[in-house]
Symmetry: C2
Subunit: 336 residues, 2 copies
Amino acid sequence: MAISEFDIISRFFDGRGPQRADVRRGIGDDGAVLRVPPGQELVAVLDTLVKGVHFPDNTPAEAIGYKALAVNLSDLAAMGAEPAWFSLGLTLPGRDVGWLEQFSAGLFGLAGRHGLQLVGGDTTRGALTVTIQAHGFVPCGGACSRAGAREGDDIYVTGTLGDAGLALLAIAGRYHVAGAGAEELRERLERPVPRVALGMALRGLVHAMVDVSDGLLADLGHVLRASGVGARIAVERIPLSEAMKAARDELGERQCLDLALSAGDDYELCFTAPPSSRGEIMRLAEAHGCSCRRIGVVESGGRLVCMWEDGRVYRTGRKGYDHFADAGRGSPDEKQ
Amino acid sequence: MAISEFDIISRFFDGRGPQRADVRRGIGDDGAVLRVPPGQELVAVLDTLVKGVHFPDNTPAEAIGYKALAVNLSDLAAMGAEPAWFSLGLTLPGRDVGWLEQFSAGLFGLAGRHGLQLVGGDTTRGALTVTIQAHGFVPCGGACSRAGAREGDDIYVTGTLGDAGLALLAIAGRYHVAGAGAEELRERLERPVPRVALGMALRGLVHAMVDVSDGLLADLGHVLRASGVGARIAVERIPLSEAMKAARDELGERQCLDLALSAGDDYELCFTAPPSSRGEIMRLAEAHGCSCRRIGVVESGGRLVCMWEDGRVYRTGRKGYDHFADAGRGSPDEKQ
C-alpha cells in the first residue's frame, strides 16, 4: 500500500523516540528550533548511505535504519560528542509500509539507546538513499580532532577490525561460512556498535581520534596527515575476531590481515595518546565493556609503516589509501 | 576525468565561500564544531533534491547547486532565521570535473550572498541526489511558526505565484513561449530567490509563516491545520507575473489560476498578521525590494475557501492537498 508523505511522517517518524527538553520545536514546521546548552559547542556530522554502494541490495530495512544512524553516531563518538538530535533525508523508490515499519524500528531502536531525538527531515522519491545529519555537544574547546597526534604517542583501536569486510566476502560467495558464524559476521556488517560512551570518556585524554569507516590505514592516514606525523603499526597486534581467525585457514593470513588493515565499515575508534595515559585508557575501555588494544606508535616524518615483530615490513596487497589513488599517492607500502 | 572523493572535497568545497568565526572546526574532521551565539536558538532545516523529481534531467549543474541551497534558505526565511552554516550530502553518478565546477559555483555563489559557510558533508556514488542541512539563528523564543495564525489575521504572499509551474509546462512542451519570456520563466524555476532578509525582518510581526514550496493551498493548509483555523482567499488578489498573465491567452484563466494556487517550487513566503500591522508590513516589504500582497483573511473553522469577488466559490481543478490525497482528505474545494 502506498501512502502520502504526510502520512509517512506522522505514522513512522513524528513523536517517536526520546522527546528532549532542548528541542523547542521539532517535526512539523519549516525547521527545528534547538537549544545548545550554555558552555557547550555544537558538533554536526553528516553521512549518506546509498543502496548497492554502502549496503547490499538485500539488506533488511531494519538494518538500514539502524546503520544509517550508527555511522553518524560513530562520527560523533570520534569527536567525543554527546549525541542530541538528528535530521533524516530519506529518498525512497516506493512507499512500502512494511519497509518503513522495519526501517523506522531500526532507526528509533538505536536513537532511543542514545537519547537522540529526530527533529526534522525530508522524504522524497528516488533511488534508496539515506542521509542523516546528527548533532551532539562538547564542552567549549573540548572536541576531539584528527589533528593532535604527537611523536611518541601510542596508537590504539577498539574492538576487532576487518569483520565487516569479511562479511561482504561471505555475502559475495568468496568466503564460506555457515550457521552462527555467518550470523555473527552479518551482524558486524549490519549492526556496527558506535563507541559513543567511550568516545566521550576519552575526551581530554586522547591527542587525536578518528572512527574507522574507510579502513584502518586510510583513517589513520587522515590522522597522520592532519597531524603532520607518521606511524609504525605492529601487524601482530591488530585485533582480530574469532571469526576472522577462523577464516585464516580458507583465506590465508595475508588476506585476513589485509581485511583488518584496509576493509571499511568497522566503526571502531582509532586514537593516539601519550604513554602516561595507558593505565587510564585501559581502565576506561574496560569500564565501557569495550576491548581496546595498542597497535603502534606515532613517529616523526609522514610515513605509515606496518611491521612484523621480527622487523620485516608488511606490504599490504590492498590499497589502504584507495581514496587518494588518483591523486598520485600510493598505498602506504608503496611509499617505502 | 574522474577524481577521488578527497580531491573533490579539497578542490571544489573545502575553504570556499565565507569563513566564519563561529565555525571552530569545519571540513576535514569527523564533524564540524560550531558555536551558537549566546541568547540565540539554533534553527535546523533539511531538504533533498532528486534529479528527475525535483529538477528536470537537463538542468544545468550551476542551477542545481544554487537551488539545493536556495530551498533550504527559503525554509530558514520562513522561520525568520539568520543563515549561518550548511552541510552537504552529495550523491553523484560519476565524478565529472566540469559538472562539479558548475555545481559548486552555483552553491557558493548563493552561500556567499548570505554569509553561509559550508562546514561538512559526505560525497557518495549513486543516483544524483543533493541533501542540504542548513543552520540559522533566532533570538531565544523568536522563531516564526506555522502554528500562530489567528481569526481576523490578514494573509499575505510575497512575489508572484505559479511561475515555476508554468516553466515546467513550457519545458514539457505544453505551453509555448520563446525568447526572453522563456528565459525569465526558466530563471524563476531554476533560481528562486529565498526571502531571507524579509523573513528575518518579519519576525515578531507575523503570527504564522510558511514558505510556498508545495503550492499555496497546500502550504497555507499546513498553517491552517497547525493553527486550528480556516481561511478565505480572494482569487483576484493572487499575485500573477507578467509571464503568467501573458499565458492566459493560450492556457485560459482557470489553468493559470490553478498554477498560482497549487503548483509548487515558488519559494515565496506566505504569512498571517493582524490588520494593525498592514502599514509596517508593506513598508518592510518595500524596504527589502520584495512585492507583497494581502490575499485573504483567517477565519474560524478549518476550511480553506477560494472566492471570486462576486461571492462565487472558486473550485480549483488541481489538488492543492496532493500530499494528503491518500489520507482521506480531499482538495480544498471538495470540502465545501
